[in-house]
């Protein structure tokens, strides 16, 4: 704001007290729980009696737990594959949507539809589609003469299904991010490139892509944090199965905490999840020199 040069009376200013209700509310339901979950990770708690202090037990168990190792591996794999599949697709679609094609607005509006629904609604839709007896999967298996239409029944198939459904849901979101980024690129860059005789492909790699650097980082951070916290889709589509083929970290935490009621150990898993998610996003931000963090609400 500019220095006050006018003779007008100085406008009064609100005290910091105005922020207190909001700060307290947020601290109570979001910030303090971060501390409590750290405390609970050092206890044994079944949700009914009082938590009892067990020191590092949960953490040593976490370190040696094969289930946790499997979950971390699956989460990292899912995150990497999410990035590898979604980034090229959203980049292509987002840059396309930033252009001026005739049907762009209509198509973009259609693409946007999955974003309006809850992940629960979408997971239910896909569950019926994947049904090996009556779903679309049965028809597709018929056409291609596949032996089994039971995608969710096989380890790889179930994992691929999670990857696909979450992609189907969130690709439009990242497409919108890239669309916004691509629209900020000055026209003159392309004009200059055209004069130099650069074709569409070269323009994409020499102008569009470098100019979208910040957008790529933003979208990557959101994808990574999103993929590390996928939960609804897994619960409805596969329940972590078959076996433990899709038991990613958030689902393992839910299963440990609210199915087995081993809430102390589940707290340790939750802490590990926060550490991994925060480290991953900070690393990305650091490595790429990007200083402005964005919302991480996706995928919740």
């Amino acid at each position: 704001m500019k220095p006050q040069t006018s003779k007008a009376p100085r406008a009064g200013r609100p005290g910091i007290a105005w922020a207190i209700p909001g700060v307290l509310f947020f601290a109570f339901f979001a910030a303090a729980p971060m501390g409590i979950v750290a405390y609970l990770s050092f206890t044994d708690w079944d949700g009914l009696s009082d938590p009892s202090w067990t020191g590092l037990d949960n953490w040593t168990r976490l370190w040696e737990d094969d289930g946790m190792r499997n979950a971390v591996w699956l989460s990292l794999l899912l995150t990497a594959l999410t990035w590898l599949t979604q980034t090229p697709i959203t980049l292509l679609l987002g840059v396309w949507a930033a252009g001026r094609q005739r049907n762009r607005a209509v198509l973009s509006a259609v693409f946007f539809l999955p974003l309006l629904a809850s992940s629960v609604a979408l997971a239910l839709l896909w569950r019926t589609i994947f049904d090996p007896n009556f779903g679309l999967a049965a028809d597709i298996a018929d056409w291609f003469d596949l032996e089994s239409a039971d995608l969710l029944g096989s380890s790889r198939g179930a994992f691929a299904a999670i990857l696909f459904v979450t992609g189907w849901q969130f690709i439009p979101f990242h497409m919108l991010i890239y669309q916004g980024g691509a629209r900020q690129i000055p026209r003159s860059f392309y004009d200059a490139a055209s004069i130099d005789g650069a074709g569409t492909v070269r323009q994409f790699f020499h102008i569009t892509l470098p100019q979208l650097r910040n957008t790529i980082v933003t979208s990557t951070v959101l994808m990574v944090v999103g993929a590390l916290t996928y939960f609804d889709t897994v619960l409805i589509l596969t329940r972590g199965g078959p076996g433990d083929a899709t038991e990613i970290v958030p689902y393992l935490m839910y299963d440990t905490g609210f199915a087995a009621f081993d809430l102390g150990y589940a707290s340790a898993i939750a802490c590990a999840l926060v550490v991994v998610a925060t480290t991953a996003s900070l690393l990305l931000v650091r490595l790429t020199g990007f200083t402005r963090m964005r919302s991480t609400r996706e995928g919740m």
């Binding site: 006018s6 007008a8 406008a11 009064g12 609100p14 910091i16 105005w18 922020a19 909001g22 700060v23 509310f25 947020f26 109570f28 339901f29 979001a30 729980p33 971060m34 979950v37 292509l92 949507a97 094609q101 198509l107 259609v110 539809l113 974003l115 309006l116 629904a117 809850s118 992940s119 629960v120 609604a121 239910l124 839709l125 569950r127 019926t128 009556f134 679309l136 049965a138 028809d139 979101f173 919108l176 916004g180 980024g181 900020q184 690129i185 392309y190 004009d191 490139a193 055209s194 957008t215 939960f231 609804d232 409805i236 935490m253 839910y254 926060v274 925060t278 964005r294 919302s295 919740m300």
Partner: protein, 300 residues
């Protein structure tokens, strides 16, 4: 300079280097036709439309016809029995619960975000920076990570299995994005406007209600939509914090329908459709606000 944080404009939108100039929406164009993008868009159109087609067609036939003909064929006889089944069941109650939760969350999030942002932007207190940082850090907390302590807090408050149990944490988790958006919007308000209000002897409350709120309308509507969408589509908090049919919200209700309808796929999918209809209607009337809210970007 009135405050130390003035130099760090928090922006949710990734608008690249030109972002510092608000309203600089200059016409832009990407060069020529983007054929690879167009092709990708066409393919993606298929991937989006086929499941949506299956969704709609499945709901306008009888259960028998769905099981016999599969999801792709257009039924000989169109019937809305599936919708009737859903609407005559518990669906209206779940819808009402969701409405209550959504409205309450939006109201709480908007009220608290407005007061916090107003204080952060205008106060002379050194603490304003700390407050702002608290909410910045809060962005990085995934709700899965704190669900166990939130469950503890809610049971201690004896709120378990009430609508408040869903409302309070959901609203709290919408606050960081809300504060960020509104701090961005309110920062643009000219000091002279405050001064002219001060000439009239306006109190802080009047300044907030008669100057800040009307000028920040766009940002406020974005925050309202963002928090409302979060509440409408939220699943984890209701799943863990409620249990009886009286407090069941739509997302949880959908999840329950899986067991209730079993092979009655038309009814299950009709419930899915009905859960999306209200948001879809809002989308038709307020597309821009909804996209802004969904992306959590500053409303302009």
């Amino acid at each position: 300079m009135t405050s130390t944080i003035d130099k760090r404009p928090p922006r949710l939108a990734d608008d690249g280097p030109r972002a510092e100039r608000p309203r600089a929406r200059r016409p832009f164009r990407l060069p020529r036709a983007n054929y690879p993008g167009g092709l990708a868009a066409l393919i993606w159109l298929g991937i989006v439309v086929v499941p949506l087609y299956v969704l709609i067609v499945s709901t306008i036939q009888t259960r028998q016809s769905y099981l016999e003909n599969g999801p792709l064929s257009i039924p000989d006889e169109i019937t809305f029995d599936a919708y009737r089944t859903v609407l005559e069941g518990d669906f209206p109650r779940y819808l009402l619960n969701t409405l209550v939760v959504t409205v309450a969350c939006a109201a709480i999030a908007v009220t608290l975000a407005v007061t916090v942002a107003y204080s952060v932007v205008r106060t002379r207190s050194r603490l304003s920076r700390r407050v702002f940082q608290l909410f910045l850090l809060g962005l990085a907390i995934p709700s899965q990570a704190v669900i166990i302590p939130v469950y503890l807090i809610i049971t201690e408050l004896q709120l378990y299995d009430t609508l408040l149990a869903i409302i309070l944490p959901t609203a709290a988790f919408s606050l960081p994005v809300g504060v960020l958006i509104l701090v961005g919007t309110m920062r643009d308000i000219d000091e002279e406007l405050y001064e002219s209000m001060a000439l009239d002897g306006a109190s802080q409350v009047r300044m907030l209600l008669q100057l800040v709120v009307p000028v920040s309308r766009a940002g406020i509507s974005t925050v309202a939509v963002f928090s409302a969408l979060n509440a409408w589509n939220g699943f984890l908090f209701p799943l863990i914090l409620t249990q009886s049919p009286e407090t069941r919200v739509l997302t949880l209700g959908l999840y329950d329908f899986v067991g209730e309808f079993r092979t009655d796929i038309p009814s299950l999918l009709a419930a899915v459709v009905l859960s999306i209809v209200p948001i879809f209607t809002a989308y038709l009337f307020a597309r821009r606000q909804l996209i802004n809210g969904l992306m959590g970007v500053g409303g302009r």
